[in-house]
């Protein structure tokens, strides 16, 4: 099927439109969005295997030849990310059905989630830099709706700040695209890559590379630009937070990965060492935050920042091994962060508060929840049989291979401290003497635990079955190491 890369964008888009006609019938909203997300997963799984079999798939919209029309490109990296995104959205929808109050779900909740899926899948699939900006806006506007839905004073306060930061970064994105267009004169990413290699004019291109770093860094929360994240992510309800933590920052990371491997791969020098330095600073800041706070949600929020730093360090080294590690870790981190947020959401539902001091002794009443959390925590830290291990191993080995010793050391030390921070939730929440729980969602634990266990099972399978996943990752890294594969796949029809 020639239009296959379009389907993961079109299905949620049509679902979102369809759901607008049935805003009063909640059961209809639930069933339709549940089934359509299942269909999206099926399609993206098929897409992954098609890309595996046939190489990079491209769709030129309106049959305009490649540099002139908009091209959608599904290489293995974007196909894998689309699959992971669809999986996560599915689990979050399943979880929200019981977790969120009916009042909350009634006000266009599922529609906003579907449009978020449209935006994220589109941003992963597009092959046009301005189109990427538009898809960024699609998921950002959905995220504005989701973060403020409910309208509590804290949500209003923090979403004002979230909105302001993103408006500024969007304006910067437009300016950066304008500068790039002024120099290169094209918007198609493959064409830009080809022409940048031809003109070979490092000065102004380094400026544009740093502007892209600022733009995507604001979305992805890297070191000096992470300041908005801890406050904004504290306020939305947990399923929404799981979506944000797993997807939104990772789109920024994908933006950096794509632009730095495709556009600016020729001048490995100042900009890549800048990226590396900022990535290491991001890890350190994230770890400090995760250790300093005594709030279960905040610990995980700071762990998002740590993971962004680890992935970007892998990107900055730019060897084959480190890029493989970065892609491996990116997929792992999306899955495990969502799982951890959903698990902590259940704990908050039981205890009625996200502060660690209001929890305790939960293992007595909820052993299944406790041990699932334990596995997820080990997996986040990268203990060998689980999924975090291989990614970090490859990143560290890639770093050492490139002659850097400080970076790998910081990555390894961060694992230890990340383990300490998430184990604090385990120790303070599950061990000790049971406290009186005041949460209103205690009775729902039996229904909520099913999606989280399934999600943790998937991450465990991802770690244990790394041998089976490896060929896909290798294929995903090919166009990152050698942009000419990407360029040829896109411009062949032209």
């Amino acid at each position: 099927m020639i239009n296959l890369p379009l389907l993961p964008i079109l299905i949620p888009l049509l679902t979102g439109v369809l759901l607008m006609f049935f805003t009063k019938q909640l059961w209809m909203q639930r069933i339709v969005s549940f089934l359509s997300t299942l269909l999206t997963i099926g399609v993206s799984l098929y897409l992954v295997f098609q890309v595996k079999a046939q190489g990079i798939l491209t769709v030129t919209l309106g049959s305009w030849p490649a540099p002139f029309g908009i091209t959608l490109v599904s290489d293995m990296l974007s196909a894998l990310l689309v699959l992971t995104t669809s999986l996560l959205v599915f689990f979050v929808i399943w979880y929200s059905m019981t977790y969120l109050s009916e009042q909350h779900q009634r006000f266009y909740y599922y529609i906003a989630v579907q449009f978020l899926l449209v935006g994220v899948n589109g941003a992963f699939t597009t092959g046009d830099i301005f189109n990427m900006f538009v898809f960024f806006e699609v998921f950002l506007i959905s995220s504005y709706v989701l973060i403020v839905l409910g309208g509590k004073p804290a949500q209003l306060r923090e979403s004002l700040k979230y909105l302001l930061v993103n408006v500024i970064s969007s304006a910067l994105f437009v300016m950066t695209v304008a500068f790039l267009y002024g120099i290169i004169g094209t918007l198609n990413m493959a064409d830009i890559s080809q022409k940048i290699a031809e003109i070979n004019q490092p000065g102004i291109l380094s400026v544009i590379a740093i502007l892209f770093l600022v733009v995507f860094g604001l979305k992805g929360a890297i070191f000096p630009l992470y300041f908005w994240l801890p406050g904004s992510y504290q306020v939305p309800p947990t399923p929404v937070l799981a979506l944000f933590g797993a997807l939104l920052t990772k789109v920024g990371v994908y933006g950096i990965l794509r632009t730095y491997s495709l556009f600016f791969s020729n001048e490995v020098g100042i900009i890549h060492s800048l990226l590396g330095g900022l990535a290491l600073a991001t890890i350190i800041i994230g770890v400090i935050g995760a250790l300093a706070t005594k709030d279960a949600k905040q610990i995980l929020i700071y762990n998002i920042i740590v993971a962004v730093g680890v992935i970007l360090y892998g990107v900055s080294v730019m060897t084959r091994q480190s890029l493989e590690g970065a892609v491996f870790y990116l997929l792992h981190d999306m899955l495990i962060k969502a799982a951890l947020f959903l698990l902590v959401g259940i704990m908050i539902g039981i205890a009625g508060s996200s502060r660690l001091k209001s929890m305790g002794g939960m293992i007595k009443d909820y052993p299944l929840l406790g041990w699932t959390y334990f596995i997820a925590a080990l997996s986040l830290a990268g203990i060998p049989p689980f999924s975090g291990f291989i990614g970090k191993l490859l990143i560290v080995r890639g770093g050492i291979e490139a002659g850097d010793l400080v970076g790998p050391f910081i990555v390894l030390a961060s694992s230890l401290l990340v383990l300490y921070s998430v184990m604090q939730i385990f120790i303070r929440g599950f061990w000790g003497t049971p406290k009186t729980y005041t949460g209103s969602r205690r009775h729902l634990v039996k229904q909520l635990i099913a999606p989280t266990i399934l999600l943790v099972t998937i991450t465990v399978a991802y770690g244990v079955g790394a041998e089976a996943v490896r060929p896909f990752i290798t294929q995903a890294v090919d166009p990152l190491v050698d942009p000419s594969i990407y360029i040829q796949a896109v411009l062949k029809g032209g």
Binding site: F130, F133, V134, E137, I141, Y144, V148, G151, K152, P153, A154, Q155, L156, R157, E158, S159, L160, L163, L164, V167, I168, S170, A171, L172, V174, M175, V177, A178, F179, Y181, G182, L187, Q234, V235, P236, P237, D295, S353, S354, R355
Partner: protein
Amino acid sequence: MEIIMAIAAGILTMCAVYLILSKSILRIIIGTGLLSHAAHLIVITMGGLKTGAAPVLEEGVTKYTDPLPQALVLTAIVISFGVTAFFLVLAYRAYQELGTDNIEEMKGTDTND
């Protein structure tokens, strides 16, 4: 001509940054408006301001201005319009709920939802 446009966009950005760093929400929103104006001017300018006919196909015209930046700017305008409308309503609602439009006073005591 491009230099004048660049200076104009620079002044707009300067005013936008000054307004965004102020305390009142409304001033901040005016600042974001100016910032998107600056961005749109930059898009138009970077496409080149060479003289030519409006990009509409006509008999006997051989030279047109670049139509692509105009399409880009049109897209960016409606997006920033939508976001600004949302921002204004959000500011109004926040003013009703929190009773202040001073961003410095928007500090939480309730850290948990």
